[in-house]
């Protein structure tokens, strides 16, 4: 049987989704369901003097109103679950509803539960709250000033943590021939999966069981954390997330809202539903990025890079969200030297509290920030020494024979062939020809530019021992259970929790390949803590390398046991059995064989099993990877800037990615496309803006520019395949590469186009207004 691995197979999950039969959280209907709505602070920083909910409580249809004080002692605080070591981190208390003080626009003040959503929302309007408005700011640099208003008593100077890593002493920079310095602002982004967050909770008083349907990327983490917050034992909590409409990191965190819904369901003895409005999504679902970075990159005139160091002010928002402290530290700084042989690297990171929505992981989480600054700096360096930016990259890329390679921060890159991906991308683009064409077009007065990024990313998070060492308050292994039924059909239970990535298909491919059975015979079950023993979920491009590997190991265990039974049936030694084409053969006597189905049936009948072999046929694995995996690649963009309007047109986009072995090219390409669009969104369109008072000015789709279909050309994508040496599938991650690489690629291209104006940097997003303004200021050099 030809292997199904590596085939462009269409997805098994599609028919239900294309026909509108998916089961998203807001689709859940239960008898007696009531609705929750949350009153949110209109102020960025204020003391709550009084909350009067008496009118709301009297309204027809209102079942209950709770304020922060009502919850005290009944509901635990919202925890932070990533505590970078040696960082003096201040995990300030975060109550599900604010008590005495609100710290950002959107902070919850009261919870209403009513018989309909409209009544619940009406009731919000008649709750009167007296606020004493306090000074505050959404800007991390202002928040660190000595006279800034303090958000939390335990965090003087609004410093949530200070964390340093690496070694890049002054004399490296003093001795280098060239040092380029730049301040870069990584603007704040709003994840905006198309499905808003939602939760439905049902409590069974007689059994004490709490079921929560939730938009979650990691149901078991939610079970673990919500059990603590609610004070319900973990085995009495069930989290269900069947179909989730995109996450991009925003559905990792444990938010107050899910805890409130569950609390109300228990108090009232009625099932309760809450679905955020898009406005609420903008205000309260975690944001991403938001760094101010001061960077120095040192090198010599021959193009060699010798050192990089960066000081970062990372805006954490008003509270520390679940994984937030790990994002601008571990996930950012350790990859700072990127794909280059830079011997010295250091990062000095301040996490800062501000009166803004908490930040946390957003597609790429830390790695896009690191890649962006590095790739922008490499271009500035190339410009400084008058070398083609592609040549600078070629010169510094880690050569193939140096893998496994230890980067300056101590990470061990598992495998790579960086020059191959670079060459392939250049060839696809016709780079030489393009550069000639560019000079010709420039003479005609056209502003065209080409941008390049070579990147490496940490994915496949990750060995649990390392997770512990870097302060992640959880494991990062994955569970998998392969249950072969008596008829030979297979149900797989995975701790990965896909929400668009297609693992119902790729995981079925892994099993079908190893058991030589049709794809249709394999069902993948995910997203239900009662059906799956444990799982750490889907984020950090970990599902295929970690969850997939767990599945490969579990399936091998099935094959091993099946072989024992087959040997017994064939009356031969186990070592004489071969498994091929779905049958177990006697070696050298292919006529003597039993089918996989014969064996599974015998395993269950158990009439005549070999001594010491238990009935049934199941394989389980709890797979902990020995290392991260490191995907890499080269992206190139060709842009044209409109001289009169400053508008950037993306004319061509080339992506060559290497995620190790590609299990399903169709799905992998889809991941790359989506990532590119999100990364270009940051480069050209998206950005959260707060005003001086901490009001979010970009709080709707009318103000926050989401990438649309007509902004993009057809992408030209390809893969090189350099297997990871340390997992059974040879795979790496592909979910975030596009987002990581495309932002600097496009900005580098625009800066290249603007070279005649002597423009060095434009803060993202590169809107027509900003680009046009930079051209006016720069003035034509040529």
């Amino acid at each position: 049987m030809a292997t199904v691995l590596g085939q462009r197979l269409r997805r098994k999950e599609d028919p239900r989704l294309i026909t509108g039969k998916g089961q998203y959280t807001d689709d859940v209907q239960l008898p007696g369901l009531v609705y929750a709505s949350i009153l949110r602070s209109p102020h960025a920083h204020a003391r709550i003097l009084r909350v009067d909910a008496s009118l709301a409580r009297e309204m027809d249809g209102v079942l209950a109103v709770y304020t922060g004080e009502d919850l005290e002692g009944k509901l635990g605080t919202i925890p932070t679950a990533w505590l970078p070591p040696d960082s003096d981190i201040r995990t300030v208390p975060h109550s599900a509803l604010a008590v005495h003080r609100v710290r950002y626009v959107g902070d919850g003040v009261a919870l209403v539960v009513a018989s309909s959503r409209s009544i619940a929302e009406d009731a919000l309007d008649v709750i009167s709250v007296d606020y004493e408005v306090l000074p505050g700011t959404a800007d991390q640099e202002i928040a660190m000033k000595p006279d800034a208003a303090q958000l939390h008593e335990d965090a003087p100077g609004n410093v949530a943590f200070h964390w340093q890593v690496g070694h890049a002493p002054d004399d490296v920079f003093a001795h280098a021939e060239v040092t380029v310095r730049q301040r870069i602002r990584q603007q704040r982004l709003i994840p905006n999966p198309m499905e808003p967050r939602s939760a439905v909770a049902q409590y069974n008083e007689s059994t004490g069981d709490m079921t929560i349907w939730a938009t979650s990327q990691n149901p078991h983490i939610h079970r673990f954390l919500l059990s603590g917050i609610l004070g319900i034992p973990e085995h009495k909590v069930r989290i269900v997330a069947i179909d989730v409409g995109g996450g991009f990191g925003a559905k990792i965190a444990c938010y107050p809202d899910e805890a409130l819904v569950a609390f109300a369901a228990r108090e009232l003895g009625r099932p309760v539903k809450w679905t955020e409005s898009r406005r609420e999504h903008f205000l309260v679902t975690t944001h991403g990025r938001d760094h101010i970075e001061d960077i120095e990159l040192a090198g010599n005139r021959d193009g060699t890079l010798v050192g990089i160091r960066v000081k970062v002010l990372a805006n954490m928002g008003a509270y520390l969200s679940t994984a937030a402290p790990g994002v601008p530290t571990i996930l950012f700084a350790l990859i700072l030297p990127g794909p280059y042989t830079i011997p010295y690297a250091a990062a000095d990171v301040y996490g800062v509290f501000t009166n803004s929505t908490p930040t946390d992981a957003y597609r790429g989480a830390g790695r896009p920030e690191a890649t962006y600054l590095l790739e922008r700096m490499v271009d500035l360096f190339a410009r400084e020494i008058g070398m083609d930016p592609v040549e600078v990259r070629r010169k510094n890329l880690i050569p193939r024979h140096q893998f496994p390679y230890h980067n300056a921060m101590g990470l061990e890159y598992d495998s790579g062939n960086y020059h191959l991906a670079l060459d392939k991308a250049l060839e696809m683009a016709g780079y030489e020809e393009f550069r000639r064409e560019q000079s010709r077009l420039r003479e005609e007065g056209k502003l065209v530019g080409i941008g390049c990024t070579t990147y490496v990313e940490i994915c496949g998070l990750g060995p649990s021992q390392v997770a512990g060492a870097v302060g992640f308050q959880g494991g990062l292994w994955e569970s998998s259970q392969v249950r072969v039924h008596p008829t030979g059909k297979v149900t797989v239970f995975t701790g990965s929790s896909p929400h668009g990535q297609g693992e119902e298909t790729t995981f079925a491919q892994i099993v079908a390949d190893r058991l030589h059975i049709p794809m249709a015979d394999v069902e993948i079950v995910h997203g239900d803590t009662d059906r799956i023993s444990m799982g750490w979920g889907t984020y950090g491009s970990r599902s295929t390398p970690v969850g997939g590997s767990a599945l490969a190991v579990a399936t091998e265990r099935v094959v091993e046991k099946a072989k024992k039974i087959a040997a017994h049936m064939l009356e031969i030694g186990e070592s004489d059995v071969e498994f091929d084409e779905g049958r177990f053969h006697a070696k050298g006597a292919p006529g003597r064989s039993v089918s996989f189905q014969d064996v599974t049936l015998q395993a269950y009948l158990a009439w005549n099993l070999p001594a010491g072999v238990e009935p049934a046929l199941e394989g389980r694995a709890f797979y902990d990877p020995v290392n991260f995996t490191y995907s890499f690649g080269t992206h190139l963009a060709l842009v044209e800037v409109d001289k009169d309007t400053g508008e950037v047109e993306l004319k061509r986009y080339i992506a060559v990615d290497d995620c190790g072995r590609v299990l399903n090219p169709l799905i992998a390409e889809g991941q790359v496309h989506g990532g590119i669009v999100q990364g270009v969104g940051q480069a050209l369109y998206e950005g959260a803006i707060y005003d001086e008072d901490g009001q979010l000015m970009t709080g709707t789709f009318m103000d926050y520019a989401m990438p649309k279909a007509r902004f993009f050309p057809t992408f030209e994508t390809a893969f090189t395949e350099t297997p990871s040496p340390h997992n059974p599938l040879g795979v790496k991650g592909i979910g975030e590469t596009g987002t990581i690489a495309s932002t600097p690629t496009v900005v580098n291209a625009v800066m290249d186009a603007l070279q005649p104006f002597g423009v060095r940097d434009i803060p993202m997003p590169l809107t027509p207004e900003r680009v046009w303004g930079a051209m006016q200021k720069g003035g034509m050099e040529a």
Binding site: R10, T19, G20, M194, M702
Partner: protein, 164 residues
């Protein structure tokens, strides 16, 4: 428009043809068509992403024309014909456009997909052979956060007359 009086319960009857079936639903005048489809009629294939008319995920056909069901009150469609994703799905299997979405991997999380399929239906009815630019323009009111749009474009080209 509904000329029915509001009953004592505050609900007014709305008669509409939904996916070929005559329905009468009793609604509050302020209820959105999107909510009535989802929660009164159980047609949860219509999704809601912004309730502000911008994201397009609530798209349905009203008398064959694309509308955003979050921008209409249910009472406004009294006497009209509404088609949702459930209405364009054959009893068995997939419609040609749906099949093309699967073939070309035109969806990831699937949340925007029912609206994309309906938008494609409407486009292909008026432009049987759209160019890539036509398609990208036609979808400028539908946001997809997952796919990067390219495979959606391919899916629609893949079932245009020329390629069929």
């Amino acid at each position: 428009m509904s000329d029915a009086v509001i009953s004592a319960s505050g609900r007014t009857p709305v008669r509409m043809e939904v996916n070929g079936v005559a329905e009468t639903v009793y609604v509050e005048p302020r209820w959105l068509l999107s909510d009535v489809l989802r929660h009164q009629l159980g047609l949860t294939g219509t999704h809601v992403g912004c309730e502000q008319g911008v994201c397009g995920v609530c798209t349905v056909l009203l008398d064959g024309v694309l509308v955003r069901s979050c921008l209409l009150f249910a009472v406004q469609v009294d006497g009209h014909r509404v088609t949702t994703i459930e209405g364009v799905t054959p009893d068995e299997g997939l419609s040609p456009i749906q099949a093309s979405f699967q073939r070309h991997h035109g969806l990831q999380c699937g949340f925007c997909t029912p609206a994309m399929v309906l938008t494609a239906e409407a486009l292909l009815r008026t432009h049987p052979n759209p160019s890539e630019a036509d398609i990208r323009d036609a979808f400028s009111g539908n946001i997809c956060r997952c796919t990067g749009y390219q495979f959606i474009v391919d899916a629609i080209r893949g079932c245009s007359e020329e390629e069929r």
